[in-house]
């Protein structure tokens, strides 16, 4: 059931490639706007690059959160999924994994290329990739909680951002801190460990809270 649900979501996403690509290009455009707005000074760009890449990733993933449960809710699939005898915990985890693979993984792959625009070193680029690899699952985990709470509401998209962004602040601080430490050469390992700890905590609590929220929203 777990792998079936992941595969189904991946196929659905593949049939609607444009949605995924739009999110990805939103990320690319937001990151590229900053050098244009601030000015092309290499020193300054290198200093602010970690924060920009991370904030842009955060904003880009807000766009795709509504889709985690939204379409399934509208056509009634979600109700059927919740009626299956499998534990909801696992099903929710499958939805989160699918969302991460579809919407977050492309950002992680593109991010180092954008880092090159900011003149970051080889070492820092790999830190960006590692920090986003650890951090974006947190965005999927926490984000799906927001998506479950706001299911079927008016202005759900704005509300999701309002609920999820404050909860994602630890991930932002640790993730951008890791990249920042790598830029300054002070060692990014402690930041990455904190980020991994945040990931574990949200992995434990988020699927549980999300399934509770789904039951509330669907009943």
């Amino acid at each position: 059931m777990f792998s079936w649900l992941v595969r189904r979501d991946l196929i659905l996403a593949w049939r609607r490639r444009a949605d995924v690509l739009a999110t990805l290009f939103f990320f690319v455009i937001v990151v590229s706007l900053f050098p244009l707005g601030i000015g092309p000074e290499p020193q300054l760009l290198r200093a602010i690059a970690p924060g920009i890449v991370w904030v842009a990733a955060l904003l880009a993933s807000m766009l795709s959160l509504g889709r985690i449960f939204g379409n399934d809710y509208q056509d009634g699939t979600l109700e059927q999924i919740l009626l299956t005898p499998q534990p909801i915990f696992l099903l929710v985890l499958a939805k989160m994994l699918a969302h991460w693979l579809v919407s977050e993984l492309p950002l992680v792959i593109v991010a180092p290329l954008l880092g090159v625009q900011f003149g970051l070193s080889q070492n820092t680029l790999s830190t960006i990739t590692v920090s986003l690899l650890l951090g974006t699952p947190i965005l999927s985990l926490v984000g799906s909680l927001g998506a479950a709470l706001t299911l079927g509401l008016r202005a759900a998209n704005v509300l999701i951002a309002l609920l999820v962004l404050p909860l994602c602040i630890p991930a932002l601080i640790f993730g951008a801190g890791a990249v920042d430490a790598s830029v300054n050469g002070t060692g990014s390992q402690p930041w990455l460990l904190l980020l991994a700890a945040t990931l574990i905590v949200s992995l434990v609590f988020s699927p549980w809270a999300t399934s509770a929220a789904l039951r509330i929203s669907v009943e």
Binding site: R154, L162, L165
Partner: protein, 246 residues
């Protein structure tokens, strides 16, 4: 009469709680006014001038109680919301909704007074240190809770969805509380400890505690008024309400 004969569940019904709250509001309002007068007199007239910070330190008498109330009320709100969700108790959920606005106001006051105090004490209005950032997040959590509840039309769903959010956000409270110990920051550490002697003058401490009491009683009074409004809104179809209002 022993306490075991009292039916504690009686006042969990809005129909019984509504008149009780109505009777309690004037008392709490009166106590609030007295405590505020006494507390502000102690704070601005009796308490000595601080030899390092001058008169500017007196913001502490508003700032500290407001910051505490912001945290306490969040915990209280989460507990009420959790009870309302777990035991399907309407009144507890209504209490959570009523508390959220007061808590948000206190958090906002603590942020504003803190930055006004920061200007003379540190030379800047705002620093991105751990305690201020986590208090700002607390403010965002209140805003998220209030806007989530107000955008759900079905009140029972609003109660439960708010409960999930409030309980998840509870993780922020220990972070605020311990932030001055965990991170070395500009924000000063706690000066009042239960275990050891406080590191401040006794009159200052007295003023602060009286004002903290005033804020507590004020919160109770305001929350009771607000919960009465919510009861009237939600139970408008109930026959008992028509009798209670007349």
């Amino acid at each position: 009469m022993s306490t075991q004969n009292i039916n504690w569940y009686k006042y969990a019904a809005p129909a019984n709680f509504y008149p009780l709250a109505g009777k309690m509001v004037p008392w709490f309002t009166g106590v609030t006014i007295i405590l505020f007068i006494v507390g502000l007199y102690l704070a601005f007239v009796v308490a000595p001038t601080d030899f390092q910070q001058g008169e500017a330190y007196r913001i502490i008498f508003i700032h500290v109680p407001a910051a505490w109330m912001g945290m306490f009320l969040y915990v209280l709100m989460a507990i009420y919301a959790g009870i309302g969700w777990a035991f399907n108790a309407r009144l507890a959920s209504m209490m959570a909704t009523a508390i959220s606005t007061t808590g948000a106001i206190f958090t906002f006051i603590s942020l504003v007074t803190g930055s006004l105090w920061g200007r003379p004490a540190w030379g800047v209005y705002w620093v991105w240190d751990a305690r201020m950032t986590s208090t700002l997040i607390l403010m965002f959590l209140y805003v998220g809770f209030i806007s989530l509840q107000s955008s759900i039309d079905d009140p029972r769903r609003a109660d439960r969805a708010g409960a999930v959010l409030a309980l998840v956000g509870l993780i922020n409270i220990p972070i605020i509380y311990f932030s001055v110990q965990w991170w070395n920051s500009l924000h000063q550490g706690a000066t009042i400890r239960i275990a050891s002697k406080p590191t401040m003058a006794p009159t200052m401490l007295a003023a602060m505690l009286v004002l903290l009491g005033a804020c507590w009683v004020y919160s109770i009074a305001v929350v009771l008024v607000r919960v009465r409004c919510i009861i009237r809104e939600r139970e408008r179809e109930a026959p008992w309400l028509a009798e209670a209002i007349v």
